[in-house]
């Protein structure tokens, strides 16, 4: 069963809610090793996506995601803004013109997103960033699909991998972003960007589960 553009919109709406609910939580995480704004930033960015919603009418998934990415770039600021903005724009580019797409297309879109983040952020896994949630999640999705898992099952594994990746940031020493200035003192704290990434994957799963039911 293909993923429709309606599901993409539903995902963006639900993600906006989820990020709003987790605004304080993400900000709290960012206050331990950063500058206490990640939740505020993500919330502001997704509110901006919502304000662009009327323009999504009749548009393909690629255009919608690119618009969302541009909204993030121009309202979030900080590190999160350009990184998530680029991620959504790259994913949109990969899904250009599609009103329906498969999980295989999703993998391509996510890979494009990750590559965009790594290029812009000059970063790689293991540096205590959002990448540590995103990279293993994509790997898990690919593996599940290769093993012939059904969509919901595959996204369950993706989400689990994102969660594990997020938790794996706790013992890491930060090497990118503001947290890197803390050196050893960044150990023991979960990365806020990895956490917001996990929340986005979880939201994807939630939408898929609804679809399933």
């Amino acid at each position: 069963m293909p993923i429709t553009v309606e599901k993409v919109k539903e995902f963006l709406q639900r993600a906006t809610e989820v990020l709003k609910e987790n605004r304080e939580y993400l900000t709290e995480l960012d206050s331990a090793i950063g500058d206490a704004d990640h939740g505020i930033n993500m919330d502001r960015g997704f509110q901006a996506i919502m304000s662009r919603f009327p323009t999504f009418e009749g548009k393909d998934a690629g255009t919608i995601l690119k618009t969302a990415g541009m909204a993030l770039v121009s309202t979030v600021g900080g590190a999160g803004g350009p990184l998530y903005g680029t991620a959504f724009m790259q994913a949109g580019m990969a899904l250009q013109g599609k009103y329906e797409f498969t999980l295989e297309d999703l993998v391509k879109a996510l890979e494009a997103a990750l590559k965009g983040i790594m290029n812009l952020g000059k970063s790689k896994p293991g540096e205590k960033t959002m990448i540590d949630a995103i990279a293993p999640a994509i790997e898990a999705l690919k593996k599940a699909l290769a093993n012939g898992a059904d969509p919901v099952k595959a996204l369950e594994e993706t989400t689990r991998a994102a969660e594990e990746g997020m938790k794996a940031t706790i013992p890491m020493i930060a090497q990118k972003g503001r947290a890197s200035y803390l050196g050893e003192r960044s150990i023991g704290h979960q990365d806020p960007g990895a956490t917001s990434s996990y929340l986005l994957f979880r939201t994807m799963l939630e939408i898929a589960q609804k679809q399933g039911s």
């Binding site: 900000t27 206050s31 090793i33 950063g34 500058d35 206490a36 704004d37 505020i40 930033n41 502001r44 770039v73 121009s74 309202t75 979030v76 600021g77 900080g78 590190a79 999160g80 803004g81 350009p82 990184l83 812009l120 952020g121 020493i173 090497q175 990118k176 972003g177 503001r178 890197s180 200035y181 803390l182 050196g183 003192r185």
Partner: protein, 357 residues
């Protein structure tokens, strides 16, 4: 949280509205996207100097817009880098035909947003170069971090480069000057108290009544080390010696190569201070420190510089690059040559820094 504000989400907007009302002879303010720009912009034939960064560091950067300093400043939300569309629109508004210099503090967010903005401006046919300021010696290595943060030297660079732009330096020469300022400036800061981002509503860290943070940045983030409170003299000595005894510092900056038309990596090295150097000594309040305390710091800094053979030829003392209501201070030493001294002394007329005009 106790603040003289209305709604936390309106702080930056209302601050900008107030600035516009207060200084119409110096600056104008554009909203959506937000930027502050010179009242007489664009100045024909002059390179336009633009900076920007999170809000909460007032008077930097908006307070440094005006004759002899910045052409525009792009304020983000409190402690959050501005977005590329702010820098792009600011560039289009103040471009006087001689190109744009972006002065960017070395934070991942600022770097990424300014890079995107530079690419967008170039796509619209505007010449843009950017120079990164990374002068915070509290960050030791550049290999396992984003590298050193941009702090106090930013203010000095904006003054000196702004004066040079006013004098008619062309874009490449201006970028080279700005790089020279950056390579010769070093800073370090400390906090007695944290500060509270209005939207967050509570302090970013907690300090006991007998503790302080050494090596903080300017975003209310915790520093490198927490230690027992010390005297002003001991604190000044810690900061000053960290700066003066800092070894050569190497790092790689990504800059735009106009010949190749692409971003390239260049290796840069800051030479250490040595006896005989002339310096500008900058004692900065983090915002909440009583102004009576700054000369106490300066007094000790003067003594230490003397002892180390550094000659203070100029100084700047006050709250210029702040972290909201944080109590604490930072010290910046900038090695000066005749060109820089002359540019430092040139007239400046901005809301936050003003002389001879």
């Amino acid at each position: 949280m106790k603040k003289l504000i209305n709604k936390p989400e309106d702080v930056v907007k209302e601050e900008l509205e107030g600035l516009a009302l207060a200084y119409p002879d110096m600056i104008k303010v554009h909203f959506d996207p937000n930027f502050v720009y010179r009242a007489d912009a664009p100045v024909k034939g002059k390179v336009a100097v633009i900076s920007g960064g999170g809000s909460g560091h007032e008077p930097m950067h908006g307070g440094f817009v005006g004759m002899g300093m910045l052409d525009a400043a792009c304020p983000g939300q409190v402690f959050t880098s501005p977005t590329p569309d702010q820098m792009l629109e600011a560039a289009k508004t103040v471009h006087g035909g001689a190109g744009i210099l972006y002065i960017v503090k070395n934070y991942s967010g600022d770097i990424m947003n300014f890079e995107m903005a530079a690419d967008m401006a170039r796509a619209e046919g505007i010449r843009v170069l950017s120079v990164i300021i990374d002068d915070d010696v509290a960050v030791k290595d550049s290999l396992y971090t984003q590298g050193r943060r941009g702090v106090g030297t930013t203010v000095l660079a904006e003054k000196i480069v702004g004066a040079a732009a006013e004098k008619g330096y062309e874009l490449k020469r201006l970028a080279a000057l700005c790089t020279k300022v950056n390579l010769n400036g070093r800073s370090m800061g400390m906090a007695l108290t944290p500060c509270t981002v209005p939207m967050a509503g509570k302090p970013t860290f907690q300090l006991a009544e007998d503790e302080m943070e050494i090596g903080i940045g300017i975003h209310g983030e915790p520093g490198r080390e927490r230690m027992k409170l010390k005297t002003a003299d001991e604190i000044t000595e810690m900061l000053a010696l960290s700066i003066i005894d800092d070894p050569p510092y190497r790092r790689t900056h990504r800059i735009f190569d106009e010949e190749k038309g692409e971003w390239v990596d260049v290796d840069l090295e800051s030479p250490p201070f040595k006896p005989g150097d002339k310096v500008l000594a900058f004692v900065n309040s983090m915002g909440g420190t009583p102004l009576i305390e700054l000369p106490i710091i300066y007094r000790k800094l003067h003594e230490i510089c003397n002892k180390k053979g550094l000659k203070i030829v100029r100084n700047l003392i006050g709250p210029y690059i702040t972290s909201l209501e944080m109590q604490g201070c930072s010290i910046t030493l900038l090695r000066m040559d005749e060109e820089m001294i002359e540019l430092w002394d040139a007239p400046v007329r901005t809301p936050g820094l003003r002389w001879k005009a």
